[in-house]
């Protein structure tokens, strides 16, 4: 019986760095590290020389200086004496505002178009196919400009609402569509419980959140009863009461009233003004991305095996319930990952605001601030940092959701 011995240990030789696959990867990585270091050194050296030649340095002190420009569309207090950092904050909020709005409406458009494209009505499905093809194949920048042109060149000026024989009139006496923007009524509280309007609104939101939790409790109870007795109690009227009664009571207590926009002097005043650029960007991003989402929704629904629908029908479910209980929950798994990347695209495409003068982060920090201070490197780096953070956050949040709806196998 022979004894097993370890094979003779090979002595490490320098040539093994090239010829032995076990060590060759080390060589390659060393070369890559060297090349990377050289490239960084080369670019950094060029940067330092160029900056020295131009008499510049890298500094973020300019963010504290007064910006000296005005922003029309803003969510927080801001005037031309505010700092560049404040202007950037206004831009960040505007970017988030238009992205969130566009994500919501794009999803609505996309789901409607995607479902209608699968309709067995020939005309409707062809119409939706035309919508999808037209909007997918034309650059979003062109759509933004087209809608912006409608907002500025086709809409009537405030002047045309004036006089006895005015050529334009307000819709339902509540909404005014002008070339300076759309004016809608603004709700406010006559006898708010708090002095500040923000607190009053927070109270309303808190009430809604409370209703949501009460409703969830009611639904859970209903499910429990169903599991015990097999009959689900009707919660429709309870739901209506839980949602409406506290809300209506609160609004009545605080004296909700509407400030309707009215023509004063040369322009409308009162109400909420939604600027033309915001509408152009919002609507263009929604219909453009909606076309992409429609295709995802269609693919998701078509990916569900026809046997699933047939099995559900064989169980005696009605078409609406088949869609809600069988097809959609499965289709969502297919739809959601591309939906995430479409939301990311909306956020990134919202940077096209600069083309229509909507004051998002690209237009404030990357546009006016950059041009006024000449701090190109700092501004562009901050801009990239913001978008990178936003993108990574969205994909992280959506990935968590994606994991929660994932098919759970074994």
């Amino acid at each position: 019986m022979s004894t097993l011995t370890d094979p003779p240990k090979e002595q490490f030789q320098l040539s093994m760095l090239v010829n032995d696959t076990r060590y060759r990867s080390l060589t390659f990585q060393a070369i890559a590290a060297l090349v990377l270091a050289l490239a960084i050194w080369y670019l950094g050296n060029n940067l330092i020389q160029n900056l020295r030649a131009a008499g510049l340095n890298i500094s973020y002190n300019f963010l504290g200086d007064p910006s000296g420009y005005d922003i029309n569309q803003r969510l927080v207090e801001y005037d031309s004496q505010s700092s560049h950092a404040r202007a950037a904050l206004v831009g960040v909020l505007n970017t988030l505002l238009v992205s969130v709005l566009a994500c919501i409406t794009a999803t609505i458009f996309g789901v409607i178009a995607g479902v209608l494209r699968l309709s067995n009505n020939w005309l409707v499905s062809k119409l939706m196919a035309v919508y999808v093809e037209i909007f997918r194949n034309i650059p979003v920048l062109i759509w933004i400009i087209i809608i912006f042109t409608i907002m500025t060149a086709v809409m009537p000026g405030p002047r045309e609402f004036r006089g006895d024989n005015a050529t334009s009139s307000m819709v339902l006496d509540l909404f005014a569509f002008t070339n300076r923007g759309v004016y809608i009524p603004m709700p406010w509280f006559e006898t708010g419980l708090f002095a500040s309007a923000t607190m009053n609104w927070l109270l309303v939101i808190a009430t809604l959140v409370g209703s949501f939790f009460v409703m969830r409790k009611v639904e859970n109870n209903a499910t429990k009863t169903q599991e015990e007795t097999g009959i689900r109690p009707n919660t429709k009227w309870i739901a209506l009461g839980v949602w409406l009664v506290p809300l209506v009571l609160l609004l009545f207590l605080m004296g909700l009233s509407w400030e309707v926009p009215a023509l004063k002097g040369f322009n409308f005043s009162g109400g909420i003004k939604i600027g033309g650029p915001l509408i152009a960007l919002w609507f263009a991003l929604s219909i453009y991305t909606g076309a992409f989402i429609a295709e995802n929704v269609r693919a998701g629904i078509q990916a569900i095996n026809k046997g699933q629908t047939e099995a559900a029908a064989a169980l005696g479910l009605r078409p609406g319930r088949i869609m809600n209980l069988v097809v959609l929950p499965q289709a969502l798994r297919v739809i959601i990952p591309p939906l995430i990347s479409n939301f990311l695209n909306i956020t990134k495409n919202s940077s096209l605001a600069i083309a229509v003068g909507y004051a998002d982060i690209t237009a404030t920090l990357g546009g006016i601030t950059l041009n006024q201070t000449g701090r190109a490197i700092e501004c562009v780096l901050l801009l990239m940092l913001f978008y990178l953070t936003a993108s990574l956050t969205i994909s992280m949040v959506m990935n968590v959701y994606n994991a929660s709806v994932k098919l759970k196998e074994r």
Partner: protein, 432 residues
């Protein structure tokens, strides 16, 4: 037995009845409409709403389109011709046709050069797009970039020839040494190309472009739809090889190379193209040597190429991941080394899977070339928004111009996507 039958039945038909036509409501248009348009009440409502929508769209646009004016020289003149009627002033397209296509600075007498370049582009693309064509045509595809460069920018013919010679030298070295070791052939090829370019740079005499056969055109004079086409074609063709390299790098087992690729791809995919274009227009020049003047076109090409290569890398990574692991193992068990396995086994299959995705990225990239108008380059959209709409003659002709731009992009992008669907059917070799 047979005669009992005759007693119980009064009449037995012995000939076949000729087939009767189906009832009227089960045939033709009537049946089709009932099944496809009015199968239920909600469906009928949808149909009527859709018809109303189509009617309002057509009644709004058709008179405007059909009553268009094609041969006036200003908006005012056009309005006089229309005389209060609804109609489009398409004369802006005919009058500014050259500006829309070539920009406003490209010399008029040289328009044949981009036209010829476009024609040759179609010829060069043909063997790439359609596999049935003879493979020898690919030789022309390889030479095409240098011809196109010379045609569009003009100047000394020596520049593209030296550039071409560099690639030829690299190819020859790779052919000679690449058989033994891929790395030696690859890096040797790069070295050979650099040597040829440097030597060639010395040989090109100063001022060779002054009295060249084709007058030199600086790249800031490029514009119009030509600029969109050039950016699209150049960046897509440059970013495919770069994307393959990045995708392979991301799959690599070497942690350093993998992380370089991951960081690059995730960074580029996380920021909008417009910030990268800002980098190209205001920041990139800081990173070049102080005495180098790299023109804006080249800087934009660099940034768009980096941008789309990250997206293409992700598409190809999907293709690589879709291959069964057995393919990698089979390649290993045949004794192929990494470059051979990739070139002969893995990439041909992975690329086939990723073609639709790559075409999607290409269409998206082509649409995104309109973004260069934001950094004041005069592409088709830049021409429309800048010089044409700002001119006194055509101030206010929005719909004709924007509609024309939308139409051009639609034709190209829709064409590409139809090609991609055809190719997908063509390449479907699995039997389903």
């Amino acid at each position: 037995m047979s005669d009992t039958h005759a007693q119980t039945v009064a009449f037995v038909r012995e000939t076949e009845i000729p087939p009767a036509p189906p009832p009227g409501r089960e045939t033709g248009v009537y049946k089709w409409m009932r099944e496809n348009l009015f199968s239920s009440i909600p469906n009928s409502v949808l149909t009527i709403v859709a018809l109303a929508l189509i009617y309002s769209l057509l009644s709004g646009t058709l008179p405007w389109l059909l009553n268009g004016v094609w041969n006036t020289s200003s908006l005012q003149e056009c309005r006089e011709v229309l005389d209060g009627q609804v109609g489009a002033c398409f004369s802006v397209l005919t009058e500014r046709w050259n500006q829309l296509l070539y920009g406003f600075k490209y010399p008029v007498e040289e328009y044949w050069r981009p036209n010829l370049a476009l024609l040759l582009l179609l010829i060069a693309l043909a063997p790439v797009l359609f596999f049935d064509l003879p493979r020898k045509l690919l030789a022309f595809t390889a030479v095409y970039p240098f011809i196109a460069f010379w045609l569009i920018w003009g100047g000394s013919i020596l520049v593209p020839i030296v550039a071409l010679l560099g690639f030829v030298a690299a190819g020859v070295v790779f052919q000679k040494y690449g058989k033994g070791s891929f790395a030696v052939g690859f890096f040797g090829g790069i070295l050979a190309a650099i040597v040829v370019w440097n030597v060639g740079g010395f040989l090109i005499p100063e001022g060779a472009s002054e009295n060249a056969m084709l007058a030199a055109v600086p790249s800031r004079d490029l514009g119009g739809f030509m600029l969109n086409m050039m950016l699209g074609v150049t960046c897509v063709s440059l970013s495919v090889p770069l994307g393959i390299a990045l995708a392979l790098g991301r799959q690599s087992s070497m942690p350093l190379i993998k992380w370089i690729c991951v960081v690059f791809i995730e960074f580029v995919r996380g920021v909008p193209l417009i910030t990268l274009l800002f980098v190209a227009s205001v920041m990139l020049s800081y990173f070049f040597p102080p005495d180098a003047t790299v023109d804006l076109f080249l800087r934009v090409v660099i940034m768009i190429t980096l941008f789309s290569s990250a997206y293409i890398a992700e598409v190809i990574r999907g293709g690589l991941a879709a291959l069964p692991k057995g393919q990698y193992e089979a390649a290993d068990s045949l004794g192929l080394d990494y470059p051979q396995a990739m070139r002969l086994i893995i990439l041909p299959q992975a690329l086939k899977i990723s073609i639709p995705g790559i075409v999607n990225v290409a269409v998206g990239l082509f649409k995104d070339t309109t973004l260069v108008s934001v950094i004041s380059m005069f592409d088709l959209l830049g021409m429309i928004r800048g010089p044409i709409l700002a001119s006194t003659e055509w101030n206010g002709v929005y719909w004709e111009l924007l509609g024309f731009a939308a139409f051009l992009f639609f034709v190209v992008c829709y064409g590409i996507s139809q090609y991609s669907q055809w190719l997908e059917r063509r390449l479907a070799t699995d039997h389903r």
